[in-house]
């Protein structure tokens, strides 16, 4: 696969307290590619996703989104760049005090000016689009007016996904989205994500479950801040996984 690059990381280094959190990481994601990121806790998966979505700026190395380097933080161009990067956070990062609809619409803040942003806090906005998203994700559109805090865990996960889709991103990032889900929900969510990640989009997803790798185009193994392997799922054998996770079960999570 070699569509236009949606994300390019080159020789990325992010310093950590003791050891670097990322060290010489290079990765290219082409449009339509779906890449799984695996590795033990503390390997640097969250840091890598943070670099990919612009939250963390690396000390060394270059980041390019669709061929462009990140614009100056806070500039309008940077905001337009960020608007095309959608992240599904491990802790979801929904705003509990707001309704489902307001949360989903929060994905549009990048393009909305103040009047619409304030109006969204007062009135139900773009109800049709939001309702459509919920049905697409198998949620009852009646939930739109509910506060997020009233939802179940699985429902919250889908609302977060709805917010992600409402953003219409080109680069989809997901930080262990399956971690807290039961196997059936995890399967469903992964299917949904993989389904949405078609060209011109690309997906980079970190996870802990080696059994779910088969539908990805590539699997990247990360350990102690370095990429250990980057191969199609078919080429991954159990010994590679064993080596990746070896002795790391009790790795300190403190670096994150």
């Amino acid at each position: 696969m070699s569509g236009p690059a949606v994300l390019e990381l080159e020789a990325i280094r992010v310093a950590g307290r003791r050891a670097p959190r990322l060290d010489g990481v290079t990765l290219r994601l082409a449009a339509g590619e779906r890449v799984a990121l695996i590795g033990p806790s503390g390997a640097g998966k969250s840091t890598m996703l943070g670099v990919a979505n612009g939250l963390i700026s690396p000390e060394q190395g270059t980041v390019r989104w669709r061929g462009e380097p990140p614009a100056r933080a806070g500039s309008g161009r940077r905001r337009r760049q960020q608007a095309r990067i959608g992240t599904l956070w491990q802790d979801l990062r929904l705003i509990d005090e707001l309704s489902v609809q307001q949360n989903i619409n929060a994905a549009r803040l990048a393009s909305w000016g103040w009047p619409r942003a304030l109006l969204n806090l007062l009135l139900p906005m773009d109800s049709a689009a939001c309702a459509q998203l919920l049905s697409r994700l198998d949620l009852d559109p009646a939930l739109l007016s509910q506060p997020v805090s009233a939802l179940s865990g699985g429902q919250r996960q889908r609302v977060a996904l709805a917010r992600l889709l409402r953003q219409e991103p080109l680069l989809l990032l997901a930080d262990e989205p399956l971690a807290s889900l039961d196997p059936r929900l995890a399967d469903e969510l992964l299917t949904l994500l993989l389904l949405e990640a078609k060209a011109p989009r690309a997906l980079l997803l970190s996870l802990h479950r080696p059994d779910l790798l088969s539908d990805f185009d590539r699997v990247v193994g990360l350990r102690a801040g370095r990429i250990v392997f980057d191969a199609p799922p078919g080429a991954i054998d159990p010994s590679m996984l064993q080596a990746l996770y070896a002795g790391a079960t009790a790795a300190p999570a403190g670096a994150a």
Binding site: G74, W89, D96, E97, A106, A110, S111, A117, L122
Partner: protein, 540 residues
């Protein structure tokens, strides 16, 4: 149309619309030159050793008064707190009603502002260092007492009952069961009171009760702005170090176990607390000696001022409706400006890193600068009146609320204070301001507004201090009555004040409980506002 949570935080700032509408009509611009001189003096304070020396001495007296008043209020408050606790009375005597009686009685000293206590005691007892200390200790003591008894009565009594059933004596059982859970909260709250005491001692000085405040006022009135700023910067340094020290100690001593490794940590902290407490005693004694405080001066029999014939008709003839209306308008305007202004300012400067530092400096100056002096300064360019007083009070309280808002909203945030939800919004391309509004204000809204409701009641009590700028309601009438030694009017006005404050307290308690109840039903773990009381119904 249902207002979403983050907007509630900003809603009070709507008061800016009428304020900006009225200000041009009230401002006269006569003294802009003076304001310019004042601002320039901030960067060119007088470094004359004589000026600095006298400012340092004044500061020493202010800090001394604050320390002694604070210490006395803690002792007084803990004792009265135990005496007004239902649990304590029930354990000791089987009856809870004496607690209720004492609790009711303590409402009065609490309802009267420390400045009023100061002026009343000054008029009765004359100029004595003990007067300023008592002026702080009495209302603060009543506040600490309420907090202590509320905390005590909210503690689960199972342990206590178990100890009693096992045959422990009542006092031993109380100490063992309730002491340990009570102490960290009392210490955290007590530390916060010391910050307040420093502000109060400065304010008392402004009205001639000793210390730096007097110099601040006199240098302002004689337009010696450079000397004024020498004192102000010194006071700022002391205030910020005190706040920093107390914040660090609070974290070290009163934080949950997160940073401390079980047993060893507890022991070390315990020793540290005891050490600090022990070190405080000689310090307090030394300060008292230097200030030549004579507590007996408070109880010595003094000739009472001759009472002129009481003129109830004259008291009744005071323009009560307008006095009370003005006081309430002043309070509500100031409260709305302060409560809504803090988040609005933060929002305005959010995109710039230095903006936050600038706002913090502004807030620190607001906390430091006694409201009557702001009022005097405002008079250079604005006509006297309710709005001028409200602006002065709002500036002071903005400093207090802003600091709390920032602390609460940045708890659990990243280096720039951003909460996770806020980071997520920024990562999806939202502007920094909208991300702040949606992602951060949503989660602090209820606890911030709950604190704001409490603050409004404090502002009502405080409105007396801007009485200087005239036509501001009960406060100005009261200052006039004090300088006329009209005891009948003074008594009536103080009672009116206390009545209003108690009503306000009741109202703000109700609002606060509703807001906090809302917060508890929402599933998010919201950070409580520090200094306001994690527990629901506490005054700070």
């Amino acid at each position: 149309m249902r207002l979403a949570t983050p907007l509630w935080v900003l809603a009070p700032a709507l008061v800016l619309v009428p304020v900006f509408g009225l200000l041009p009509g009230l401002s006269h611009g006569g003294g802009w030159e003076l304001i310019g001189q004042f601002a320039w003096a901030a960067v060119t304070p007088s470094l004359d050793p004589l000026v600095l020396g006298s400012a340092l001495q004044g500061l020493g007296v202010t800090v001394g008064i604050a320390l002694l008043g604070w210490a006395a209020s803690l002792v007084l408050g803990l004792v009265l707190g135990l005496l007004s606790s239902r649990t304590v009375w029930r354990t000791l005597s089987g009856n809870a009603w004496p607690a209720e009686v004492i609790r009711r009685l303590l409402a009065l000293p609490r309802a009267i502002h420390e400045l009023l206590w100061g002026l009343l005691l000054l008029a009765l007892l004359g100029l004595k260092p003990a007067v300023a200390i008592a002026a702080i200790a009495i209302p603060y003591g009543a506040l600490v007492a309420r907090m202590t008894s509320d905390l005590l009565d909210a503690l689960p009594t199972r342990q206590l009952e178990a100890l009693r059933a096992a045959g422990a004596g009542p006092i031993g059982a109380l100490l063992t069961a309730l002491g340990p859970p009570l102490m960290p909260q009392v210490i955290s709250y007590g530390g916060y009171r010391l910050e307040c005491a420093l502000r109060s001692a400065t304010l008392l000085g402004v009205f001639g009760l000793g210390g730096l405040g007097a110099e601040l006022r006199l240098t302002l009135q004689s337009l010696n702005f450079r000397e004024l700023w020498s004192g102000l910067w010194l006071l700022l340094a002391v205030m910020l170090s005190l706040e920093g020290l107390l914040g660090a100690l609070r974290q070290r001593w009163a934080m949950p176990q997160r940073f401390v490794l079980s047993q060893g940590g507890v022991g070390r902290r315990g020793r540290e607390m005891v050490l600090a407490g022990v070190a405080l005693v000689p310090l307090l004694v030394g300060v008292a000696r230097v200030l030549e405080v004579d507590p007996l001066a408070l109880v010595q029999p003094h000739p009472l001022p001759p009472a002129p014939p009481v003129d109830w008709a004259g008291v009744a003839a005071l323009p009560w409706p307008s006095l009370i209306t003005n006081t309430l308008v002043l309070t509500l305007t100031a409260a709305a400006l302060a409560v809504g202004g803090a988040p609005l300012l933060l929002l305005a400067v959010r995109p710039w890193g230095w903006g936050r530092v600038l706002v913090q400096l502004l807030w620190a100056l607001g906390r430091l600068w006694p409201p009557p002096l702001t009022a005097l300064l405002l008079l250079f360019v604005v006509q006297p009146g309710v709005l001028t007083g409200a602006l002065a009070l709002a500036f002071h309280n903005l400093g207090i609320l802003g600091r709390l808002l920032l602390e609460a909203s940045e708890a659990g945030g990243d280096r720039a204070g951003r909460t996770p939800a806020e980071q997520a919004l920024e990562a999806s391309g939202s502007g920094a301001r909208l991300a702040l509004l949606y992602g951060r204000y949503s989660s602090v809204a209820s606890s911030y507004l709950a604190y704001g409701a409490y603050r409004a009641d404090v502002i009502l009590r405080e409105s007396v201090v801007v009485g200087l700028v005239g036509a501001t309601g009960l406060g100005s009438q009261l200052l006039e009555a004090l300088s006329s030694f009209a005891w009948d009017q003074i008594a009536a006005l103080v009672l009116a004040y206390a009545g209003l404050t108690l009503l306000g307290e009741d109202l703000s308690d109700r609002i606060r409980q509703r807001l906090l109840a809302q917060q508890h039903t929402s599933s998010s773990a919201t950070s409580a506002i520090p200094g306001s009381p994690a527990a629901d119904a506490l005054p700070a």
